[in-house]
Symmetry: none
Subunit: 196 residues, 4 copies
């Protein structure tokens, strides 16, 4: 896990803020420097260039996402693991809406090879972990077996992402946690093996 200097953290923070609040179009070196109260040139003291800033944003969120996945292991039941992961994420979103970048990243970032690689890695890490948990649940009878793990992955992650997307589109105006709880209730009904 990379260590950031104080200034670097500051830059990353404001970069996220701009992307989330003003859109990628307004994420320019000029605007970033302005918000930070420093010169554009100064940015290059701390990062090689703009894409390195984006890359760092991804790493920053990747770390958090990885932590969440790791922490999930303290739970025994698969469904509880999943609930922890998505609940934690929803809470992260509320605490720091900048987190939405993680979801948008695939779509909005410039086609730089380094970035693309990093994004694919994050997605893969996520997919692997979630699917593994689902698979375990299916094996031990916790999770329904009549839908394969990849489809369930699409359904769970897809609905979660879509909820987040809409939340952002509505300018973070609705109570995300409340909507999440309803969504998760539904998702549990979907996942659980029907008891006989």
């Amino acid at each position: 896990m990379r260590q950031w200097t104080k200034r670097q953290k500051e830059i990353i923070e404001f970069a996220i803020k701009i992307i989330v609040e003003e859109g990628l179009d307004n994420f320019t070196t000029k605007n970033l420097a302005l918000k930070l109260g420093i010169s554009e040139a100064a940015l290059y003291r701390h990062f090689d260039g703009k894409n390195e800033i984006i890359s760092s944003i991804l790493e920053y969120f990747e770390d958090i996402a990885r932590d969440t996945l790791r922490l999930a292991n303290k739970f025994n039941k698969s469904i509880e693991k999943l609930r922890f992961i998505f609940k934690t994420r929803a809470e992260n979103f509320v605490r720091n809406p900048g987190f939405v970048i993680l979801i948008l990243s695939e779509e909005i970032f410039p086609p730089d090879p380094m970035l693309t690689e990093k994004i694919k890695n994050i997605m893969l890490m996520n997919k692997d972990n979630i699917e593994k948990i689902i698979q375990d649940g299916q094996k031990n009878g916790e999770i329904r077996n009549d839908i394969d793990k990849e489809t369930l992955f699409y359904m769970v992650v897809g609905s979660f992402r879509f909820m987040i997307t809409r939340w952002r589109l509505m300018n973070f105006s609705f109570d995300l946690i409340q909507i999440f709880n309803k969504l998760w209730e539904g998702l549990e009904k979907l996942l659980k093996k029907e008891e006989v």
Copy 2:
């Protein structure tokens, strides 16, 4: 439904092609003109500006989406309506991958008020129609009642969108129809009232 001249259709087509294949960053008037084999100035004979081209792309897809929603009414059962809508869309995607723009549009387009308005309208049209179908299904006992219609909407549309997103990220390399069929099977299981 707006009528396009031959040239306008051509421009829209190539614009979509560029956005999908090369990303929004490469969707420049210069590139577009180059691909069309005309001068940049010529573009302005056919459209007021770049955003008007984007707007037209949206209208173009909106028309198709609306048609699909309308055609779905020939089915009696709610679930069949939904299956028709999403199946048709999946087929549209295969036939014309440019369709993904409809899904990306919320995130990638420049923050022009006219565009934002149009995008929100399309999303709303979609949400209204789908939720209405779900609601009808719930009323007549076809669709489960223990998850509210909005949550089901998130789940169905979210998984579908996520599947498309991944398909694009993988450069359209997997068989979308096959994956869709699996997904839809799962979604039907989710939606249907469990028979006693």
Copy 3:
């Protein structure tokens, strides 16, 4: 005196209208064609190009200005000639504010040799005639002798032009004729030989 076709007259009229109402910046072939309800290409059926239109505007006003100067000769007294000339012009302005172009022309038109030549000619014609009238008046004792004719020319024409300029700047909002009458009263006091 050149003869204009009906269409040419129409084009000249609208050109003047645009220049006066919307400024030279908005006097484009596109805008002109739009206002006329014809295509840009059609303009080139009637005029060689934009500068030929401007040139024609100048000729159009030159004809009127020349007429006024000629008609002034029916008066015997120099001061009456002058009064007629400027009064007629003021009335022309009120009737057709497009006339202001004649005053602006030196400053605003593009540096085309043909245009510059034409403008200088109009100005010269005016200067020659007015100064001649002043000179005659000085000879026959009507007009004061202690200020040379060129200086008087500056004073009379300069004040008149300045009045027009301000009238336009105020969007033709004040009563030009009324202000003119006051101005002319003052100018007559300036011009007239003080009676002993």
Copy 4:
């Protein structure tokens, strides 16, 4: 009074030079940058845009004009005040022909609200001050009373402006000071109360 950096002053100077010598049509960012020996982009480090440069030109001249008006107060007699103002201006014009911009500004600058506002302010400042001086002169019997102050303003300022306009049209070829002296002699005769 705004302070300019060295570069800003340089830019303003060259901008004036171009407008006066080559006309507004040739006052392009490209041409300006070329003359300065810097890139177009560099201009935008020093000014927000082209109109901000124009605006600065106006401010620059406004300061000078205001100074002249202020300095005029050291004279006791109204006519001496006026003579000082116009003589100083004539001298300014000779020293820096770019000054003509102040006179042309109403007509030639693009219809930007900020610019229009600034121009109107300058004109108003001028009118208010000159008319005030004329009024004072009328009150204390120095200046004739039988022509109202506004008409006298038209006459004095109008002739002066017209002289300048012609001077420019003749490419600054005649001796402005000499012509001005003759003009002023005439204007004094106009203004002064005839002694009995």
